[in-house]
């Protein structure tokens, strides 16, 4: 039978399209995995008029054995486990467990760090990884999908670029990212070609499949971490290198052993070539521009490895400008960043492999807001969203791998992630970060006005704040800018800078009307003194004349002092405050969060001040060690007896610290009322941790390793205030269109964006960017999809654009970003352009 060549060609083309569609479908399912597993269908009981927390009690208990977690949740002994699990075996068990569900968080990123010293080491050996081309070729050599799916058991997503795939910058640069990802897609043949060329340039020759130099095989030392999945990654890389003709030394090392070699050692000594690195992010970082400087230039760190970096001058300059935020507009920043990323990929001092996924197990009938980067332990909203889905109230047991790691005090106490998780349940901050975007929302403020100098590039996303640009911001003369420890008074800008002073930003914050009507957990009323005292303490701790002086506080305080330009109270009812600073963040919401003053109960702080002044306790670990006293703990241990003694004395004396200043900010009889309340509190609870959050600290059991917090019934907010953040509203995409497009006709594609099977509101879509790639993976045309209503978006491909794409297998990629979540969603549609009219 004779088959027409045209028909055969068409059949091959259709076959190719089907294969591509299948491949892209795989890719899409991989990308949408987090969305599907993070968004199970649910039925939640109504909250009614309940206030504060949605559960009555939370018990934190130590559980370090990951293997037990699923069984403990199944048996009802545990409802939530707050440590991310990255072990695939444990994950499979969790997945198969009845009554157990889980959340997903991003965090650790795995990469390959190269030793760029050379081109020859001190002993004369050549170093192939001195050549940027060889490092770059590793991007093609590595099959990241294999690494994610096989080596990490599906608990990872491929990562190509020096920006985390779950963070806003990735979504903002989605088209650049996709272009580069396609450029650096797995292509071992290309990698082999480049490595071959470069090795020959270095004077090596391939003999019987082995690279030789000066008569000896070229030996590559792979420094492999043995404490996690990187052991398998290291073996995979070693196998790939052997496949390329290198002799490989596999150096299996623990973290400590490895750090001596790769961080502390001199790279010129050539003790290693490749290290299986990993980096952790504990918050959603909305501004990743520093990554270029940190990972690719000598400015990153002072260690010898970083000093061996020789980035392209253009990359170095861009990284330095971005680090200094030396750009006038947001568009300029994006342009610089995009170019920097492209150059970083060419440099490839690091080859990024995957962004690891952490599984956070919980009982199926429990829900809570999980931070996209920091998981449950780093989620600021867990106290406001933790609930049983089928009932209100009840007790929840949360397992932590460690707790009460260090003493708790509000000045320089424990900052361990699991301790701070508990503390978050006890406190109520002025702003709370969105767990899915990292942007802040107001909790105790009504509005904020951010004023910046006109050369400061700042973007605003939410409408609870405004941003204005002015030519010059002059700090008023009555703003407080410093503290006179000897005179016990604030110093104004007028005194310190008689000629005046300017600032780059001004933040004016109006707190909610009843801000100063709220009460601390011990029943005493909050006052302005609770806001002023922490400022004074911060200045005192940096002042050598003060009894509170702490050498460890000086350096960070100096950083603060460098950008701080003063603050003042504009009004007390409603409370309005103005803060001046030279420090900027790209997001206006972040600027407000960094500036807005918070409160801390002055009466518990006063006891600490007394104890530290008398050399009995110290707020910070460093000072405690220097003074050979205990690090102050307000919740347990030997500190309590000392603080109790000071409570009695303070109550008897009517002690108000810095009385000539704080006296202006306390109510009549407040001092007596505070100490009376605290005395009763301590008698009842046996600790001094007084706060104002949705839970209060009920009891602490240090040896038994458990902490109990209970619902604070007088909490002012409705219990459902933050429930909209209990789930990440990751858009689900469905991209549809013709599989075969005629070169003579225009074509339309339809994008459906939904969440929970309902159309995704168009105004919540930040961008729906489409990218058309030709058969060689080159980006030919791009643009924004147009909303047509009901969650549908239209992508039109004109005849001219079709002509540019050319006949053959092409693809359409769509990147959708939502204002609700930093994680972008992708969809792909493969189609073929055929010459002539389309067959009916």
């Amino acid at each position: 039978m004779k088959v027409s060549p045209r028909l055969l060609w068409l059949a091959v083309l259709i076959g190719a399209v089907v294969v591509m569609a299948f491949a892209f479908e795989l890719s899409r399912s991989e990308r949408s995995r987090s969305a599907t597993i993070a968004a199970p269908a649910r039925v939640d009981v109504p909250v009614g008029d309940r206030r504060g927390a949605l559960v009555d009690q939370v018990v934190f208990t130590q559980e370090a054995d990951l293997g037990k977690v699923s069984a403990l949740i199944e048996s009802g002994s545990l409802q939530v486990f707050a440590q991310g699990i990255s072990n695939a075996t444990v994950f499979r068990r969790l997945r198969d467990s009845k009554g157990v569900d889980y959340e997903i968080a991003y965090g650790t990123s795995a990469e390959l760090t190269f030793n760029p010293a050379g081109a020859r080491f001190e002993d004369g050996r050549i170093n192939p990884f001195h050549q940027p081309e060889v490092r770059e070729a590793f991007n093609w050599l590595i099959d990241r999908r294999y690494v994610a799916e096989e080596l990490y058991g599906g608990l990872a997503v491929p990562r190509y670029l020096p920006i985390n795939t779950a963070f806003p910058d990735y979504a903002r640069l989605a088209e650049v990212a996709r272009t580069l990802e396609i450029r650096y897609a797995h292509d071992p043949e290309r990698a082999r070609r480049v490595i071959h060329e470069q090795m020959e340039k270095l004077g090596a020759s391939l003999q019987q499949g082995r690279w030789m130099h000066n008569g000896a095989p070229v030996r590559i030392s792979v420094l492999i971490r043995t404490d996690d999945e990187r052991r398998r990654v290291g073996d995979y890389v070693a196998n790939l290198l052997e496949g390329q003709g290198f002799e490989v030394e596999r150096m299996y090392r623990t973290p400590e052993e490895a750090s001596r070699i790769w961080i502390a050692g001199d790279p010129r000594a050539g003790r290693w070539h490749i290290y299986t690195g990993a980096w952790l992010s504990t918050v959603i970082n909305r501004d990743l521009v520093d990554n270029l400087s940190y990972y690719y230039t000598r400015r990153g760190r002072p260690e010898p490895l970083w000093q061996a970096y020789t980035p392209d001058p253009e990359l170095d300059k861009i990284a330095e400008r971005l680090e200094r935020r030396d750009y006038a507009t947001w568009a300029e920043r994006q342009k610089l960043f995009a170019r920097g990323i492209e150059l970083a990929m060419k440099d490839s001092a690091r080859v990024w492999l995957v962004d690891q996924l952490n599984v956070l197990p919980r009982a199926a009938n429990v829900s809570l807001a999980t931070d996209l980067a920091a998981g449950i332990a780093g989620s600021a909203l867990w106290p406001y969203t933790l609930r049983y889905r089928d009932r209100l109230g009840g007790s929840v047991v949360i397992g932590l791998p460690g707790l009460l790691t260090e003493p708790w005090n509000p000045v320089a106490g424990s900052n361990w992630v699991f301790d701070t998780m508990i503390m978050r349940g006890l406190s109520d901050t002025e702003l709370l970060p969105d767990p899915f975007t990292g942007l802040f929302w107001p909790q105790r403020i009504d509005a904020a006005q951010v004023t910046v100098q006109k050369d400061v590039p700042v973007i605003r996303t939410h409408d609870w704040l405004t941003v204005e640009k002015v030519a010059k911001i002059t700090v008023p003369a009555d703003a407080w800018i410093d503290w006179d420890a000897a005179g016990q008074r604030f110093i104004t800008t007028g005194e310190k800078y008689p000629k005046g002073i300017t600032a780059r930003t001004r933040v004016r914050v109006r707190y909610e009307p009843n801000y100063l009507e709220r009460r601390w957990h011990d029943g005493s009323k909050i006052s302005l003194a609770d806001m002023v005292l922490p400022w004074i303490v911060s200045f005192e701790r940096a002042d050598k004349q003060s009894a509170l002086y702490d050498a460890a506080h000086v350096a960070p305080f100096e950083v603060f002092r460098r950008h701080f330009r003063g603050w003042r109270i504009l009004s007390r009812a409603p409370l309005e405050i103005e803060i001046y600073s030279d420090q900027i963040y790209p997001d206006a919401e972040w600027i407000v969060n960094a500036r807005v003053p918070s409160v801390s109960p002055w009466h518990t702080l006063a006891l600490g001040i007394r104890a530290e002044r008398q050399g009995e306790l110290a707020f910070s670990s460093n000072k405690a060690d220097r003074a050979r006293v205990d690090w102050m703990s307000l919740i347990a241990g030997p500190s309590l007896a000392i603080l109790e003694r000071h409570l009695q004395a303070a109550r008897d004396e009517g002690f108000l610290p810095y009385a000539n200043v704080l006296g202006q900010f306390v109510r009549k009889d407040e001092v007596a009322e505070r100490y009376r309340a605290l005395t009763q509190w301590y008698a009842q609870r046996r600790h001094f941790w007084v706060d104002n959050g949705p839970f209060y600290l009920h009891s602490v059991h240090p040896v038994e390793r458990s902490v109990v917090i209970r619902r604070y019934e007088d909490f002012p907010d409705r219990a459902d205030k933050w429930l909209r953040f209990a789930r990440a509203r990751i858009p689900v995409l469905d991209l549809d269109g013709p599989l075969i497009v005629s070169a003579q006709e225009a074509a339309d594609f339809t994008l459906r964006i939904s969440f929970d099977d309902a159309p995704y509101p168009a105004d919540a879509i930040e961008g729906a960017r489409y990218l058309f790639f030709d058969r060689q993976g080159r980006l030919i045309t791009e643009g924004d999809a147009v909303p047509t209503g009901n969650g549908r978006w239209k992508i039109a491909l004109s005849r001219e654009q079709i002509a540019k794409l050319g006949v053959g297998a092409n693809s359409l990629e769509v990147a959708v970003t939502s204002v609700h979540v930093a994680l972008p969603a992708f969809a792909t549609h493969a189609f073929a352009i055929v010459p002539g009219a389309r067959k009916p």
């Binding site: 370090a64 048996s75 460093n622 240090p702």
Partner: protein, 375 residues
């Protein structure tokens, strides 16, 4: 020095004999204590040197300090807009402060002797990184806080094992070759597996398959508020770990004691007692147990001081807040004062026990005399 050969009484006057004995006892005591002290001294110093890899650990610790601080500064958004040189200066300042705090700027050899000096004086001092659960940095507080939990669990288990095995072994020694005896012999190899190994199975069976007992911890969370309820909860939490230790040790212990008693019960003087028709209880007490007492006491004393170190893996399997876990953390964090305190206290306890055993031997066993005594 001690010999086990009985000596005849001296023929000199009682007074001079008493003085001479006193002098000998004094000399023995001094020499013995000195020898033990030197042993402890050498053991503790070796611990210091080995735990620090002869000073190499300093290098590791500095790298670790630098990395931790650099990452901490980088992660802190308050420093995000700092120029690189200022950020580096900030990191370096903090690194310097931490190095000074840990005295890593001093040569290891100098610190090692200071560690030794402080340890031998039992000046436990302050931990470098760790805290007690309640928040104290005093090594004494850190250890004392965990001691009751360790003593309770391991004391209960070990006493149970010790006395059960003695009692059963004594009975079995009289029923040599019986079915029970053969069962015990057959099960003796089961002690090759450590307690934590059985613990895993016990947790699986009794905490998850048939959930009647808690899988770990010392008390339920939150701890019951009443004392009785608290005690009941602790007891409930002790069942599985005690059972795990018991299963792991009981058969080999019975087997050992049984063999020991069998040897003693086949002595001529025991056979003579039997021939005389003495009751079996009297034979056990006077002719078997009495001469067997020194090794039993030794075993008991060593068991008691063995409680000091707890059991790292078992404690971790059962999430028990004991000294074993503490030592594990201390080693992981290279907290020398805590490691040293644990070692030096154990060394002193061991030395003291050995010394006391010498004395107790002399009391219990009339055959034991100081060298130089009359034959």
């Amino acid at each position: 020095m001690i010999t086990d050969s009985p000596q005849p009484s001296p023929s000199t006057s009682r007074a001079s004999g008493f003085l001479r004995d006193l002098r000998r006892v004094g000399l023995f005591t001094v020499l013995r204590l000195f020898g033990l002290f030197v042993t402890v001294l050498v053991g503790v110093y070796l611990t210091i040197v080995i735990a620090n890899m002869g000073g190499k650990v300093d290098e590791l610790r500095i790298v670790q300090i630098r990395s931790t601080i650099a990452e901490g500064v980088r992660a802190d958004r308050a420093f995000s807009d700092l120029p690189s040189d200022q950020r580096t200066a900030l990191v370096e300042g903090r690194v310097k402060m931490e190095i000074e705090r840990l005295r890593l700027d001093q040569p290891f050899i100098e610190r090692s002797f200071d560690y030794l000096y402080q340890a031998m004086r039992l000046n436990l001092g302050r931990a470098e990184h760790m805290h007690s659960d309640a928040g104290s940095r005093q090594v004494y507080d850190i250890i004392v806080e965990r001691l009751p939990a360790t003593l309770l669990l391991f004391g209960t288990a070990n006493l149970l094992i010790f006395f059960s095995s003695l009692f059963i072994a004594l009975r079995l020694s009289r029923r040599y070759g019986s079915a029970l005896d053969r069962i015990v012999i057959a099960l003796a190899p089961s002690s090759a597996a450590p307690g934590w190994f059985y613990g895993i199975f016990l947790i699986l069976i009794f905490a998850f398959i048939a959930p009647v007992l808690p899988p770990g911890g010392m008390v339920e969370a939150p701890p019951p508020e009443g004392r009785l309820a608290y005690a009941a909860s602790v007891l409930k939490h002790m069942i599985l770990p005690v059972a795990a230790m018991f299963i792991s040790s009981i058969f080999i212990a019975i087997y050992s004691w049984r063999t020991f008693f069998l040897i003693h019960s086949s002595e001529d003087y025991v056979e003579m007692a039997r021939a005389k028709g003495l009751p079996s209880g009297a034979i056990e007490r006077r002719y078997i147990l009495r001469p067997a007492l020194p090794p039993i006491v030794t075993s008991f004393a060593l068991m008691l001081i063995g409680l000091w170190s707890g059991a790292i893996i078992l404690e971790r399997v059962f999430n028990w807040p004991g000294l074993g876990t503490l030592l594990f953390i201390a080693i992981g964090q290279r907290d020398m004062p805590v490691i040293l305190a644990s070692v030096v206290i154990f060394a002193y306890l061991l030395a003291l026990t050995v010394f006391l055993l010498d004395v107790i031997y002399a009391v219990l066993d009339p055959r034991v005399k100081l060298e130089g005594g009359n034959r």
